[in-house]
């Protein structure tokens, strides 16, 4: 099974996205929805900025002692009657999950929303093994029907509108009355709930992700808004948690602090509707819960980020605030990024996980406006980390030759101030003469990326340094 990565075709993807009117309309909702809600709820909490510092510090501490906390976590899970499976690669993670599913004879698997499941392409693996995966998060359910991947890490179907969802439901839910009314979003929701209710009852295994793994107690935590996660993990006889290793947090107290910035940053809620803590399988006195509890902990390249500049990225708590505030994400949507993680966090993380040779466009496709960093609840310096990827691409000659030549020849002059002044003095006077009548150029050689879309203002004429020098000489200043 190979991952279908289209990140190398980022420019083509972006071009298609920009022509897609429906997508552009949907992205307008992202621009308006998430941003204002986050701003309101952050402003209402006087200690919000201090909590961001605290969240950053907690994650930094956990990463600095990752080995200790992971071992502590494993021993607590084991003590509670659960099992921890370590997976170095996506393949090992899929293998561990398939082994459990096969052993219990699973035919239907319900799933809570999990980006790690997307990263390891779990659904494809389950289907290949004759097991039916059923996504139970509404957004994930919709994109599963469409055979798509999420376009946003917390709002997987944000690129769609209700009409598209209606036609998917009519196409797939053929057992229902074709004449039913699905014109209201709530009708779509009700229909999905009805269909999913049967799946919850039929499921042999439930798979969820984890927002946090708590070392102190061996607990996995999910935050959701639909209640599907709880049904996924409590109804089947087996619950499997799939999480990457940086989800570890030392204590319950630490989690309660980070939770205060998570939902606020993500959806602008003070808390998500459900925050669910799971520790081990059902105990004799419990009224419900799974008979087996497994945690698959995935590395998949993350441990190699430790001790490098990219360690900061492992603080990420997957709130999506960076993409919600990103002008490039707003312009092209999540699918253009070409792999599982879109937006600024994807632009930093994807090159680490799939290689900068494949994901090289992503850290370059940023204006460095810095809005992502300004809202990140764990203060990841996203622009700085994107720049680090650009450094590595430059070292390895991975960027387009034109950029390299351009920067190189400009650098040649800029490092020689006298020559620079001479050259720019002549060039600007020339350009100014050419552009004087219109004040702008509608096309310029080598700058098509600019002039295809906008005019290039003409320079005024003599450079500032030339004029300054002659004024000084004339004693005017």
């Amino acid at each position: 099974m190979t991952l279908h990565v289209t990140s190398p075709q980022f420019k083509d993807n972006a071009h298609r996205a920009l022509q897609d009117e429906q997508l552009q309309k949907a992205m307008g909702n992202v621009r308006q929805g998430f941003i204002d809600k986050r701003a309101v709820v952050a402003a209402k909490l006087p200690e919000f900025e201090a909590l961001r510092d605290s969240a950053r510090d907690i994650k930094n501490h956990a990463l600095a002692h990752l080995d200790l906390y992971l071992e502590q976590y494993e021993s607590k899970v084991t003590a509670a009657g659960g099992h921890v499976h370590w997976a170095r690669t996506a393949e090992e993670a899929r293998g561990a999950i398939l082994d459990i599913c096969r052993r219990v004879g699973a035919r239907t698997v319900t799933k809570g929303k999990s980006m790690i499941s997307e990263e390891i392409e779990l659904n494809t693996a389950l289907e290949a093994a004759g097991i039916r995966p059923v996504e139970t998060d509404l957004g994930e359910y919709i994109i599963q029907l469409r055979g798509e991947i999420p376009s946003h890490i917390i709002a997987p179907a944000v690129h769609l509108n209700a009409t598209q969802v209606e036609s998917d439901f009519r196409r797939v839910h053929t057992h229902l009355d074709p004449a039913r009314d699905l014109s209201q979003p709530v009708q779509l929701l009700t229909e999905a709930r009805g269909v999913l209710r049967d799946r919850f009852l039929a499921a042999d295994v439930g798979i969820t992700g984890a927002n946090f793994l708590i070392a102190e107690t061996g607990t996995s935590v999910i935050v959701t808004n639909e209640g599907n996660g709880d049904l996924t993990q409590t109804m089947p006889k087996v619950h499997i948690v799939i999480a990457s290793l940086e989800k570890i947090v030392p204590t319950l107290e630490d989690v309660s602090q980070i939770l205060r910035v998570l939902a606020r940053s993500a959806t602008g809620q003070e808390m998500s509707v459900y925050t669910t803590f799971s520790t081990g399988p059902r105990r004799p006195q419990d009224v419900d819960g799974p008979e087996e509890y497994h945690v698959v902990i995935l590395d998949n390249g993350r441990s190699s980020m430790l001790g490098t500049a990219f360690q900061d990225m492992l603080r990420c708590i997957r709130c999506g605030a960076c993409m919600n505030h990103c002008p490039v994400y707003h312009a092209v949507g999540g699918h253009a990024y070409g792999w599982v993680y879109p937006g600024p966090m994807g632009a930093v993380l994807s090159p680490s996980l799939i290689g900068v040779d494949k994901a090289g466009h992503l850290p370059n496709a940023s204006t460095f406006c810095g809005r992502c960093e300004s809202v990140c609840p764990v203060r990841i310096p996203l622009p700085k980390l994107m720049r680090h990827w650009r450094d590595r691409e430059f070292e390895r000659h991975l960027q387009p030759a034109t950029l390299r030549t351009g920067i190189g020849s400009w650098g040649f002059f800029a490092r020689r101030p006298r020559l620079y002044r001479l050259a720019t003095s002549v060039a600007m006077r020339g350009l100014a003469l050419l552009g004087r009548n219109k004040g702008r150029f509608t096309s310029l050689p080598l700058a098509g990326g600019w002039t295809d879309y906008r005019d290039f203002p003409a320079p005024q004429g003599a450079t500032f340094q030339d004029q300054w020098k002659s004024r000084k000489a004339e004693g005017r200043r």
Binding site: F368, F394, A414, R436, P459, Q460
Partner: protein, 261 residues
């Protein structure tokens, strides 16, 4: 630095920025006027570029070479001031990072960073300027350029001074803190995406009803001016320094020169 700790007539090195130097010298002269009116002695040492394009393209060697050149040219001044949040941000926020592993230069880079400012925030926060002697008739809107806003906290200072320009009304556009899509080489490397971003910006500018849009960074201004003129929208584009200095004789950015000569 507190107001009391600064020299009475500080020597300011004007980091004019390569864009102003080459494209729009009138912004440089407006900056000189504003600084002199505020009581500074302004000098312009020989200079080229702060190195940001190289830094943001991953070419650290060129970025360091240009930074060392700027450090040598500007170290002797009390302050270094640039009519750009982007270039001032490069010196203030990124020079220290560039030399973090090189103790000898790091000291000089840190010292330069500490005394470098964006023009308008320098006037207000350091020189204590509260008003300007200028007149500009009409309604303007102000775009908060990203580096100035997020690296240097330039937000209230230009508005505070614009409020004292006679005849001027400021009307805020929607999403004034959202990037215009310039992003240096981004505008050329990813022209199509950059275009989609600047289209939203020009929409916000026209919806504001202002006849002039101002900002503190020439890169953003050229991007917005280029898009407005391509769209045929008759909205003038100027650097905020030109208006604050009352030096608006030159045609707006990207507009034809219709003066007699």
């Amino acid at each position: 630095m507190p107001l009391t700790a600064r020299p009475q007539r500080p020597r300011v090195g004007l980091f004019v920025t390569c864009l102003v130097d080459l494209m729009r010298p009138s912004v440089g002269f407006a900056a000189v006027k504003l600084l002199e009116d505020a009581g500074c002695v302004v000098e312009v040492p020989r200079q080229t570029c702060c190195g940001q394009p190289a830094f943001n393209s991953g070419d650290r060697d060129t970025a360091r070479a240009l930074a060392e050149q700027a450090i040598a040219a500007f170290s002797s001044f009390d302050y270094v001031v640039a009519p750009s949040g982007s270039c001032a941000g490069q010196i203030k926020a990124h020079y220290p990072e560039l030399f973090a592993g090189d103790p000898n230069i790091a000291r000089k880079a840190d010292a330069l960073a500490a005394k470098t400012y964006e023009l308008v925030s320098f006037l207000v926060d350091v020189m204590g300027v509260t008003e300007v002697e200028a007149r500009f008739d009409g309604t303007v809107t102000y775009h908060d350029s990203c580096s100035g806003l997020r690296e240097l906290n330039v937000k209230r200072q230009p508005r505070q001074l614009l409020a004292t320009v006679k005849g001027l009304t400021l009307t805020e556009m929607k999403e004034n803190e959202v990037c215009c899509g310039f992003g240096g080489t981004f505008a050329v490397k990813y022209g199509e995406i950059s275009n989609s971003i600047v289209e939203k910006k020009t929409e916000a500018i026209s919806a504001s009803g202002a006849h002039t849009v101002l900002a503190g960074d020439l890169g953003c201004l050229m991007n917005m001016a280029g898009k407005l003129s391509r769209e045929g929208k008759p909205i003038a584009v100027r650097h905020v320094a030109e208006v604050l200095a009352g030096m608006t004789d030159e045609p707006p950015i990207g507009a034809p020169d219709q003066r007699e000569r």
